[in-house]
Symmetry: none
Subunit: 188 residues, 4 copies
């Protein structure tokens, strides 16, 4: 249908790819332009600066991840919520491995603007809230929710990074890991 990719989209895609490969600071604009198949000046017709492009890429993907993670969990048990979140992360990291790598395997401080940082905060908060809810219900063990999230999300990132680095990670293995990580969170 809409086979025509807009220039802006081509640039965002190229930038994601180049930034993921070389880090933001290690990337040069001509490389992004070339990978997008456009001239350097064209980038500047769509984004006011390299930094703006970096933030656009960040917001595009962090925003999508946040949207997917935000599900009205009314009436769900925390166990079910956790399963859902894990599935969302797994799907995101499977469908958009480059984007997940860009978001989670490198450091962004230094070029993110306020909007980007707001997205980061909102995303971080989501996990802590899930855990806190679980603790209130007695489903999740005691401890600083941020720490529990750090542990669990860290485990997920480790798994995804392994997949990104070439290791074959099957759905079954994602499921096994999910169970194991829930074990790590649940009331003993």
């Amino acid at each position: 249908m809409d086979r025509k990719v807009t220039t802006r989209e081509a640039l965002l895609e190229a930038a994601l790819s180049v930034f993921t490969e070389h880090t933001y600071a290690g990337s040069i604009v001509p490389m992004v332009a070339e990978r997008a198949g456009v001239a350097v000046g064209t980038m500047y017709r769509h984004f006011p600066s390299k930094q703006a492009l970096g933030n656009a890429v960040y917001q595009q993907w962090k925003g999508l991840l946040l949207d997917r993670l935000r599900v009205p969990a009314e009436g769900m048990s925390t166990r079910a919520e956790f399963a859902h979140v894990w599935a969302v992360l797994r799907d995101f990291a499977t469908e958009h491995p480059e984007a997940f790598a860009f978001l989670e395997y490198q450091q962004h401080a230094g070029y993110l603007d306020d909007d980007s940082e707001k997205l980061t905060d909102l995303t971080n908060r989501l996990g802590a809230e899930l855990v806190a809810r679980g603790q209130e219900r007695g489903e999740v063990r005691a401890g600083d929710p941020n720490l529990l999230v750090a542990l669990a999300y860290g485990a997920f990132i480790g798994l995804a990074k392994a997949a990104w680095s070439g290791l074959p990670v099957t759905a079954a293995e994602f499921d096994a890991a999910e169970a194991a990580v829930w074990d790590l969170l649940r009331r003993s």
Copy 2:
């Protein structure tokens, strides 16, 4: 003994700090020199290039971490080995948080030389071997050892990153996490 910090040491320390804060590509040599309290030219008397300095920092700390992780585990159970490794990581990340952040929270591909990459490989192998040993003994559950390590090390990194970002993480919490992560590895 160490009555005098050598210029080289001051440079390595400054570089660690600057690279951790701004990433390698995002750091500029004069900033490193200034933080070390020396002139730019002085850096070039101790290291042939920025890249060499980057690799020196990487090798200094990755090497120290590897040394500490390498313990002749003859006769130890995998459970005990794991506890030991966890303690080494905890101590390293507690004593040298900046170094751990430098090593694990950012991307190094792009400037590491062969020696540095060899250290990375050796370190990665260590974990997989521990897990494989545990599987042979029936202490650790089935699955690709690399994946299990990714999961467990990811969890540790998550925890350490939380501590690095300012969250208070007590020894008790490291211990609780250790138990939880072992649960994630052990035979069910």
Copy 3:
């Protein structure tokens, strides 16, 4: 009559305005196009280049000024001629303050072509000839005619610039200045 402003005229007008505000080199083509209410490409259908546009603007106004200054002064006294020239300048600077500012308050060397420079020369000559005539008749004091013109025209430019910068300059003041400047030229 002039029911429709042609695109070309709109461009010349916009260019005059932009060049006067930002100087020729400091102006950018899209700004001219925007102020003319057309697309950038449209400018290039009417003028082959920015430089050609600059010269067109210069010639339009320098040409008009020259035309007005050229009056067959047969039989007039130099005093009368001077009064006439002053009146022409006053009217021009009053009716077309932006054009006068463009022509006289900035430097054009660097983009003017031969035709433009010929206009400049012709205009400059006019004044010197008037003075020379006056000297022959004994109406104007001795001295290099170019210098006397420089003095008198400088005074006029100063006055016009003051008006341009916002000072209210009445017709009476122009007249008083005319008398004073003639005093500066006439036989003592």
Copy 4:
């Protein structure tokens, strides 16, 4: 003695020369660097930007001119004050023709910063104050002081520009012009 010209001085001198020749916007940094006999990067060690260099040049010369014009005129008649100011301008324009051309024959709006504009204002005020004083004493004719200054300073600029363009202007001619311009100001 101090035959060694500092790099900063060489840059200011080169910049004055290039800006005078091509206008600020029409000048390119490498041209300035080359004329100063240094590399481009060197300019940026001494001035943070092209704009800062432009302002430094402007302030250097406008500041010097202002300093010279500022003379405690206690007890002097306005006639004497005027003679002094004229002499100062003549000397300045004779000794530093390039600087005077830079300051007075082109438009600076667009890159001047607040400090530069303050200097412009202070300089402009000086003339108006002289005239106002003269009017109070009955030495100068009635009229907006700013207008009278515009007329007189315009005449001076015209003369100096003529000299700059190659016309030989002798001291005697400067004196004659001074008398003529005073005539233009004085009570009739």
